[in-house]
Symmetry: C2
Subunit: 308 residues, 2 copies
């Protein structure tokens, strides 16, 4: 089923203990749509870039099957740019540069051909832009998944809560869930978020995996312990991308199927961190993905009787 993603398409410059990049392409919508191409051939993007953005990268997305009709190019402006440096433990980072550029007054225009989208992914972006997009869809998508981050809690609290109230699934990391709810226990935090609107809550715990909460159900997808995390940039976006794309592919947004979707999200994120930026996500095979998913399943599987 058709998937629509809104989010940033941008330049990143990344420094990790393993090396340093010049400006490479990044942005939530880049990671999400790139990931989606392994699941669906009906992936649509709404984003904005400046005239400095390389056409070859847009054409690459098109070749992978992404419909870029909603990707605005502002010829005389510059693309969003983020630069960051990861600490030795790879779990924390400093932001060195944030230049909003075209994102500053981004107006998400919905091409007519996108109006029938059934699955909507709101990549990390100003909650005002996210809610505007929902408003502009004539028919509410069957499932709206929203990713966000602490930055919006610090700067647009009311707008963030309003957008959260409109979505079906909120994807957020553990520290952000605590900040959003004032609850330390993730079980309590998820329950509180469910009173804010979303019927399903995903709490991302980085190297410790992710939790999925429904009304009475809870599911834990581990992360695959890795020898090296080369570059964590985009891992959360890739995770969200794998999650919603698997739901769109199977057209089944039940809790049972979301469990599988969260494993696909985790598997795709585990590829993402193996190389700088989007590199590892650019040429995967279905066999590689299936093999990785089977590693995730094996990681937690026990056989035989477990009664005392």
């Amino acid at each position: 089923m058709s998937l629509l993603t809104v989010g940033s398409v941008a330049f990143d410059a990344i420094e990790t203990p393993f090396g340093k990049t010049d400006k490479i392409i990044g942005g939530a919508a880049t990671y999400i749509t790139l990931t989606s191409t392994y699941f669906t051939d009906k992936s649509n993007i709404i984003a904005v870039v400046g005239g400095d953005f390389p056409m070859a990268k847009i054409e690459f997305l098109q070749q992978k099957g992404v419909n870029t009709a909603g990707l605005q190019i502002k010829e005389n402006e510059k693309s969003f740019f983020w630069s960051g440096k990861y600490h030795n433990d790879m779990n924390s980072r400093d932001t060195l540069v944030t230049e909003l550029n075209v994102l500053g007054d981004f107006d998400p225009i919905v091409p007519e051909e996108y109006q029938d989208c059934k699955y909507l992914m709101l990549g990390n972006l100003a909650p005002t832009v996210q809610s505007k997009l929902i408003q502009r869809l004539k028919k509410r998508p069957e499932l709206i998944v929203m990713d966000t981050m602490n930055f919006w809690m610090d700067t647009m609290w009311d707008e963030l809560l309003h957008t959260i109230s409109l979505v079906d699934v909120l994807s957020i990391n553990d520290e952000e869930a605590r900040q959003l709810t004032g609850e330390y226990s993730l079980v309590r935090a998820a329950r509180k978020i469910r009173t804010m609107g979303p019927k399903t809550v995903i709490i991302k715990k980085g190297e410790h995996g992710a939790l999925l909460f429904g009304e009475h159900e809870m599911f834990y997808a581990p992360a695959l312990p890795l020898e090296d995390v080369f570059d964590p940039t985009g891992a959360g976006d890739t995770f969200a991308g794998g999650f919603i794309s698997y739901l769109a592919k199977t057209d089944d947004p039940t809790f049972e199927n979301m469990k599988k979707a969260i494993i696909y999200g985790s598997a795709m994120a585990s590829f993402c961190v193996e190389k700088f930026g989007t590199e590892r996500l650019e040429n995967l095979s279905p066999e590689e993905i299936n093999l990785r998913v089977s590693m995730f399943l094996k990681l937690v599987s026990v056989g035989g009787n477990m009664e005392l």
Copy 2:
């Protein structure tokens, strides 16, 4: 099969955001043997207490089936005492008081009737005492599991490495595994520990679960996300106790069975944290334990085809 545990039997005074205790009983061997009573009726303890330790608590262990022939009582000395205060997040704590008392010159004497023990649990204790115990067993147990902590890395590095070289399974938390090996990646850390002696490594990640590493295998047991963690004291000991006791019960120390054992360890630890000290571990039923284990299994189970 018979299980022998060596470790502290002590007094704790605990303060958490939920309340405060006077001196209550604690100590690694207390948590481990109490846990073991749900799995085996051949549980033996080697420990030392002072004349201040309440006989009723020793009798309680005996009633639960623990053989206390190896529990020395030094009438004119005082029991080991630890006092700590947990921070609001329950993940970190300050040690307020540590009085070694009888533990200071603890000489672990092995009663003749313990000599046939097949499973040996070295609870957290000075590595010199742990290795002395191994030496005093005429026949090496089939499986030796060792728990330790950062304190011994800071104070008895060489002795710690020697003891580690003698055991089959090392149980250690994630930060300690990093400190012991200088490797941030837990995959690399476990591999390095395996070159130090233990063929199997358990890395405890607290609220994030535990990892089990064999030669080519890896297993992830999640922790059960809880609404409240009332008191984490003893959770690691209880985990180790559930792990080795399940192996002793089933008399099967293969990697496949260790996967199940680690789930039992996690389940027992999840009870431990629900009340202060050992309280929650004192009166469990097999039905409660089976139900808890089934919750752990359900937490990670997905059904049906997962191929793309």
